[in-house]
């Protein structure tokens, strides 16, 4: 029921973000500025979750679709990519793998321990918990 209203709200936040980027010379893309403003509006309850949820779920479910034209556009650069394919592949593959592992490792390293939360759950008995921790 709120599908179209939600879409209009999301598109409006995007437009305001793009506009602010141009007017304010902000070194962030308009869509990220729009996302930050939208989050702020949700927190302030200026925008209700139920107004936008349906439209957001649809757009996020099919997000890959909107990237397809960009991926197809790569073929315009085929000659250059072909000539330097090895260094480009090594650069992108190696660096992306490094970022993935560094980010995941530090997230796990600094994550506040879930066992503290588990202790607050009254349903599990101390014996069960000890057993889980030994695993």
């Amino acid at each position: 029921m709120y599908g179209l209203l939600g879409f209009i709200i999301l598109a409006a936040f995007h437009l305001v973000g793009v506009w602010l980027q141009h007017v304010g010379n902000i070194p962030l893309p308009g869509n990220v500025i729009g996302l930050l403003l939208f989050l702020f509006a949700l927190y302030m309850r200026w925008v209700r979750l139920e107004w936008v949820e349906q439209a957001a779920q649809f757009l996020l479910k099919h997000m890959l679709l909107f990237f397809i034209p960009y991926v197809v556009g790569i073929i315009a650069f085929a000659p250059l990519l072909g000539e330097h394919w090895f260094s480009i592949l090594a650069g992108i593959g190696g660096s992306t793998t490094a970022v993935l592992l560094a980010t995941a490792w530090s997230a796990r390293r600094w994550k506040s321990q879930p066992s503290i939360d588990a202790e607050q759950v009254p349903t599990s008995s101390p014996i069960e918990k000890r057993g889980e921790r030994m695993l």
């Binding site: 869509n31 991926v71 073929i75």
Partner: protein, 230 residues
Amino acid sequence: MMFSELLLIITGITATIGAYLLARYVHGRFPWMHPILISAGLLIVIIVTADIPLEAYSAGGEWLSMLLGPATVALGVPIYKHREQIAKQFKPIMISIICGSVIGIVSVMVILWLLTDVQAIILSMLPKSVSSPISIEISKVLNGVPELAAVFSVCTGLFGSVFGITILQKFGFRDDMSIGLAMGTAAHGIGTARCLANSEEQGSFSGLAMGLAGVITSILFVPIYIWLIP
């Protein structure tokens, strides 16, 4: 608008959605086949074999890409829904995204310094872990090639989206937070789209990481500008 132009746009949109639906169907049967590889691969094969100019396809493709704006804003919904969990894990989120963003820039410098001396490739690849609109702006200031920076961003997103989760699982990372943060930091929107297909929680961490990595990477390049300008 000419009628033929309108027809071209409708054909481009229809072909892309058709390829996407087919890719989703194939992905459902063979989960290892990434939907974006199947759909974009199919369209590229058609465009190259039928000798269609890329501009003719892009006329319609651009209309679909325009929806990326509202879709990025829509990431606010899962982030907002998981706000309590995100607030609880604020420290690991910030540390891991800063760590990943720094590694993203430094590792490109090291790898490409060893392999190539083409300045345009090095300077355009430095901001590759953030989405194209940001990497384009950064590469302009670095005197790189903005179009190439956009292509590298898309290739990075593609690599992360296709191999990211497999790589992370091989190294024993299985929780939504680690995977989501890593995918969003390394492979921006395309990685986030892949995470959303797994779980909303993973997608919300990835979307958050994508946004924060964009902000953090832009800030990290400020000292590099200052160092390059004099």
